[in-house]
Amino acid sequence: MEKIPILKMGKFLLVTIQVDLYDRLALTLEEDLIEMVYKTGSRGVLIDISALSIVDSFMGKIIGNIAGMSSIMDAETVVVGMQPAVAITLIELGLPLAGVHTALNVEKGMALLESRISSDPDDNAADGDD
């Protein structure tokens, strides 16, 4: 079965989606990621969607699910590399991806994850940086 690879980088998990995401593949990714967060005790998940030419409501829901589940497992999720046309379309579609952190690229996403984790103990500070 086809799978999207999940790489462990220190405290974080890195996923780069390079193929067309059909629904089953997206659901498998969701399950695998949560399993990996649990197994590795990762504190952050970084999803690079720069190769995706569209994000529709189903994929949006999966991204939201991943962020929600990770958060319950004490991990932060950052989505990076969204193409401008995808962002415009998502908003018009009516899917603002609430609760999902975003960054322009992998580097900035990593920095965001680092900052969120380091500011973890004082709870209010964590919400100030986005």
Partner: protein, 140 residues
């Protein structure tokens, strides 16, 4: 000349499996790129296609997508007609409301898709099926 060639594009795509959604999206993209549609309009059209085709697969048991290049005056666009022979939609007004769903989707599909295209028409008969027609102009 290019316009003439584009005008000849008229084809049917079957949607029976999830993978067909990917093929359908890719085919719409190919035609949109060939036409010279801008990236934002392309993305909106492909996203709307994905939403409606998925709805057709989940709620209508699959169906056919008819893709056609439309030329109206100086405007050039892509028209897609999604036809299924599923159970039909009992209350179209409700189905067109944001967040209304009878199944496992978010309820953004139809109303969201409508916002992404220039023309949108839906017709449904209980027990006979549903037809959704959308059109996106190249520069619309």
């Amino acid at each position: 000349m290019i316009t003439l060639l584009m005008a000849m594009i008229r084809e049917s795509l079957a949607i029976q499996h999830e993978r067909d959604l990917v093929y359908c999206r890719n085919r719409v993209k190919e035609v949109a790129v060939k036409m010279g549609m801008g990236i934002v309009n392309q993305t909106k059209l492909i996203t709307a296609t994905s939403e409606i085709a998925r709805n057709m697969l989940i709620y209508g048991g699959g169906g056919i997508v008819r893709l056609e290049v439309i030329i109206r005056g100086k405007q050039e666009g892509i028209q897609l007609v999604f036809e299924d022979k599923g159970p039909g939609i009992a209350d179209i007004q409700k189905a067109m409301q944001d967040g209304f769903t009878t199944g496992r989707t978010l309820g953004m599909g139809l109303p969201g898709a409508k916002r992404l295209v220039n023309e949108f028409a839906i017709q449904s008969t209980l027990g006979q099926g549903t037809t959704v027609k959308i059109l996106k102009w190249k520069n619309g």
